[in-house]
């Protein structure tokens, strides 16, 4: 581990040296954006999963810039620039620096869109890494916002350097220059080739070593240009071999002891025993690079297709089709827009007017949103071979979907536009929140060993999240009830359907939260040896159950009526947010795989909104009572 880390650092340093030394290998021609479909479907082993390069490029670009596109380029086109033309790509403004203090600290002039190129940052690179080292030594909880940003940006730069150096051995390099004609003749190099790469010289390494050994035996004073060239080449080759290790670009498969292993091109290049196929793979990469630099779109596509075909002859990676489609459609972004449009219509339908065409349009928009939403969830099941419920990001996607379906079901029963509002508002809000949790990370990453159980993921988490969905929908209905009753002064009799919907949906939430919590206890009993441990996550679910029980029993006892139920439902929504988002922020307990610092702003904003809303409701309530008296 330490050795590979060291190698990675050394490799990054070598690449950094190349990137820092402007024009080290001469000017590289600009290339037009090429069609990279075949390259996008090339499989890579990353983060414990075989995925198409398109997904890899997408997650890297998202990590660096918080976006999945760059100046009209697809993520794969950007990645191709970074690995085939690293010196050109060094001007791409892809590094997002949110904190202006960090920009000041590294001496970079601030940019309007907060995005910087590698060349912009490189002058402050050493300063940044120094600050990141100091901040990294601290416990994550004790770091300031500035330090967190420094660590993040520094890590991004490090990752970028590693990616941009994966094909450095294909790049011409000054230390591999062969000017002596005798040396050229010996190595079979054409006179036209001015500068050579490690890849060009690697096949001649035996001849170079022999000539260097012969030169070593001679007196140094009597070395000819040929001898000096051979010594220099031999040392350079040796230096490259020793200084570079594993790199994060495992795209070439190899069968070792019957097991499939995926290697990075540099390791394949170094490994003499990789076989003819591996050398052919490297040749395909070299052909891809040459075609990309020269702007030969057809040649590039052919080389990529040939590389992919060779990979599939050696290994059996999964088909990238569904994942490429998922990436291309970006289903949750599409669904969010459609839910958002429907929400505007539904809000007007519930509060202002009740036009039939608007209701139909909102219904159609929600159905249209549900299509990509459902596709996205199914695609994740197919790609990840597990239910899409293992991360907090995925729970948002699922709850958004469940709320949308629940709302539609309510609409089909009641036909009062309330269901449309629930569907669209919850769908939009939770997909938006999911997007906030998807910044800078691969949303299809590995899951902790304890979560690696499709049965419990399906039963426990699905039930609990359905419970969350029920309580969230009930919370929305609670808001609608209070707005109509206290702010719009709608008569009680006209709110009967809203009230009964609230009762039913909150009961739905309670039922599934109870089932999910009991299943969670059983899972904990199977994994940790106890049914209940008062862990914050468990307590969060228990709080929801207890509170819903309070609301129902208080209604049964006559302590509260419809209005009290509505307030209770709103508070159940607050508790859901505490159990769902807040508990992960606490950073304590057995559910450590869910810990995150994301969502704190969203949670606080939500709590402030609810506090203001309830305070306004209280004021309206007392004013109404006063007027009635």
């Amino acid at each position: 581990m330490i050795a590979s880390l060291r190698c990675a650092v050394v490799a990054a340093a070598a690449c950094a040296a190349a990137l820092f030394a402007e024009g080290a290998s001469g000017a590289v021609p600009e290339t037009s954006y090429q069609k990279t479909d075949d390259f996008a479907s090339t499989m890579i082993l990353d983060n414990g999963r075989l995925k198409p390069l398109d997904s890899y490029a997408r997650s890297m670009l998202m990590q660096f810039s918080g976006r999945t596109g760059f100046h009209g380029m697809s993520p794969t086109q950007w990645l191709a620039r970074v690995i085939f033309l690293p010196l050109t790509a060094a001007d791409d403004k892809v590094f997002l620096i949110n904190n202006p203090e960090v920009v000041d600290a590294i001496g970079v002039s601030p940019q309007k869109r907060r995005r910087y190129s590698f060349n912009d940052i490189k002058q402050g690179y050493h300063q940044l890494t120094g600050m990141a080292r100091e901040a990294g030594a601290k416990d994550a909880k004790e770091r300031t916002l500035f330090e967190n940003e420094v660590v993040r940006v520094s890590r991004n730069l490090q990752d970028y350097l590693e990616i941009s150096s994966v094909l450095m051995f294909l790049m011409p390099y000054p230390e591999f220059a062969v000017r002596d004609s005798a040396a050229r003749d010996l190595l079979g190099i054409s006179p036209a080739a001015e500068q050579l790469s490690f890849y060009d010289l690697a096949p001649c390494s035996d001849r170079i070593a022999q000539a260097a050994t012969a030169a070593e035996r001679k007196d140094k004073a009597g070395w000819s240009v040929f001898d000096m060239t051979m010594m220099s080449l031999s040392q350079a080759l040796q230096r490259w071999r020793q200084s570079r290790g594993d790199q994060p670009f495992h795209i070439i498969p190899k069968i070792v002891d019957g097991r499939e292993e995926w290697l990075c091109p540099w390791i394949v290049m170094l490994d003499a025993g990789s076989g003819a196929q591996a050398r052919a793979d490297i040749s395909s990469l070299a052909a891809m690079r040459a075609a990309f630099i020269s702007g030969d779109a057809k040649g590039f596509a052919a080389a990529a297709a040939s590389f992919n075909a060779a990979v599939r002859r050696t290994a059996r990676p999964p088909s990238p089709g569904i994942e490429l489609l998922y990436n291309r459609i970006d289903p949750f972004a599409k669904a969010k827009i459609l839910y958002g449009l429907a929400a505007i219509l539904a809000l007007m339908l519930v509060t202002v007017f009740a036009w039939r065409w608007a209701r139909t349009l909102a219904f159609v928009l929600i159905c249209a949103a549900l299509a990509p939403h459902t596709f996205g969830l199914i695609a994740r099941v197919i790609i990840l071979h597990r239910p899409p419920l293992a991360t907090i990001y995925e729970t948002f996607l699922f709850v958004a979907w469940a709320c949308a379906v629940l709302g539609l079901a309510l609409e089909l029963i009641q036909r009062k536009s309330l269901g449309l509002l629930i569907s669209s508002l919850c769908g939009f809000f939770f997909l938006h929140l999911a997007g906030r949790y998807n910044v800078g990370e691969d949303s299809m990453g590995m899951i902790a060993a304890v979560l690696n159980s499709n049965f419990w993921l399906t039963t426990h988490i699905m039930s609990v999240t359905l419970g969350y969905a029920g309580c969230c929908c009930a919370g929305v209905i609670g808001h609608v009830y209070i707005v109509k009753k206290l702010f719009l002064r709608t008569p009680e009799e006209k709110l009967a359907s809203t009230s009964s919907a609230l009762y039913g949906i909150l009961a739905f939430g309670l039922v599934f939260t109870v089932i999910g919590t009991m299943l969670g206890g059983m899972w904990a009993d199977q994994s940790w040896g106890r049914f209940w441990g008062w862990d914050p996550k468990e307590n969060g679910a228990l709080l929801i159950i207890l509170w819903c029980a309070v609301v129902f029993h208080a209604r049964l006892a006559g302590i509260v009526k419809q209005q009290g139920m509505a307030i209770g439902a709103i508070l159940s929504l607050v508790l859901v947010m505490f159990a769902w988002i807040g508990v992960n922020l606490l950073g304590i307990g057995m559910h450590s795989y869910g810990f995150t610092t994301t969502g704190i702003t969203a949670l606080y904003s939500f709590l402030i909104f609810e506090a203001v809303f309830l305070a306004a409701a209280a004021v309206a309530f007392f004013m109404t009572r006063r007027r009635a008296m």
Binding site: L510, V514, G529, W534, P536, V550, A557, V583, L586
Partner: protein, 383 residues
């Protein structure tokens, strides 16, 4: 539509028409539980889960500010049990339409009563084994013993529970005639080291670090992290007292020469006897491809007891059960090519109670929810 007259409950309340027969009591108990759960959860941030358990979740009374009494979870739960039981018997209408609610509340009762039983009877310990190692006893997380044994009879140790030790008292040892006088006992402490010359002067490292004294520490937030220690004076047959520091974190026992024999003294976790012997055959950690992140931990063990003699696999989410004992994969260690696996061992005679309660509650709630939904839809469809 005429309203159906409510059916009578199973028993008339009579003199039992106490506060426990009121829904108000249910609401109060639930609200108190809400407050305690929320408070206890937030309390964990600064004090840890064990302190929160002790103060809120396993207590009858919570003292606010050390003075004002407030019901603890046990008291609130006991109130709820009484309330539920009495409501079911004296107030609940026992008719098919209410079946869902009755089953649900029975489930809640089983859960609360079962939770109480389990919290008083379940015992947790752990078993750490190297590959090839066998043991028929696990070790306690929280309890420690002061153990002595002699060189002549290493298999006959003498132990006294650290919780029962009293400062200034002398305790007999495994060596007849020798005793240990407890000068100080620390619940949690750190050892202070000093350099000592090696007995063998030809050794390459002439000095080694020995425990010189121990320093008291405040209790760890997780009691299993506490490392206790004892300062004792050993009075041997010869009558000369030897002052010794016995530290729970030391890898070697304290060695006291007593005439022809040698007395060994150590502070060790209390062993918990198991009804079977477990041998760790193989431990495997499976990683996600190309990473060092674990996908699965799996231990192959051989279990041998009075009525069992077979291999079993213990992995994440798949424990091994034998009688009232359950063995869970909890941790592992890989050092110098050797691997060890740790199992959490739980002895729980009421482990099935939450399952029964869960089934009853889920079935009851689903039944009630569906019944209500059908009634609601029929009402809407009625002309």
């Amino acid at each position: 539509m005429t309203k159906r007259a409510p059916k009578k409950p199973l028993f008339a309340a009579g003199i039992f028409s106490s506060p426990f027969l009121s829904l108000y009591t249910t609401v109060i108990c639930l609200v108190v539980l809400c407050v305690l759960v929320l408070w206890g959860t937030l309390y964990q941030i600064d004090h840890g889960i064990y302190a929160a358990k002790a103060r809120f979740f396993s207590s009858w009374i919570v003292l606010i500010g050390g003075m004002v009494p407030f019901p603890g979870v046990r008291l609130a739960a006991a109130g709820l049990i009484l309330n539920q039981a009495m409501m079911l018997v004296f107030k609940q209408e026992w008719r098919p339409a209410k079946a869902g609610m009755i089953i649900t509340h029975l489930g809640v009762l089983v859960l609360l009563v079962g939770g109480g039983i389990v919290s008083y009877t379940a015992r947790e310990s752990f078993l750490a084994l190297w590959e090839g190692e066998t043991s028929n006893e696990s070790l306690s997380y929280h309890s420690w013993d002061l153990v002595t044994w002699t060189k002549a009879k290493p298999g006959a140790p003498w132990a006294v529970g650290l919780d029962t030790l009293r400062t200034g008292h002398a305790y007999s040892t495994a060596l007849p005639g020798a005793s240990v006088l407890v000068e100080n006992a620390y619940h949690n402490c750190v050892a202070l080291m000093r350099q000592m010359p090696m007995a063998d002067s030809s050794a390459r490292m002439p000095m080694f670090a020995a425990i010189d004294s121990i320093e008291a520490q405040s209790a760890a937030s997780d009691p299993s992290d506490n490392i206790p220690g004892v300062v004792v004076t050993v009075a041997a047959v010869a009558g000369i007292g030897a002052h010794r520091v016995v530290y729970g974190g030391a890898s070697e026992p304290v060695c006291i020469p007593c005439g022809a024999d040698t007395l060994y003294c150590a502070v060790r976790r209390k062993p918990v006897p198991l009804p079977l012997a477990i041998t760790l055959i193989k431990f495997i950690k499976e990683d996600y491809a190309g990473t060092q992140m674990a996908r699965q931990y799996r231990s192959t063990v051989h279990a041998k007891g009075a009525d069992i003699d077979r291999e079993a696999v213990i992995s994440m989410n798949k424990p091994f059960r034998y009688r009232h004992y359950t063995f869970y994969q909890s941790s592992y260690s890989q050092t110098g090519g050797h691997q060890s696996s740790s199992f959490a061992v739980v002895e729980n005679r009421g482990k099935w109670l939450p399952y029964v309660a869960g089934f009853l509650m889920a079935a009851g709630l689903l039944l009630h929810f569906c019944t209500k939904l059908i009634i609601h839809i029929r009402k809407r469809e009625a002309p």
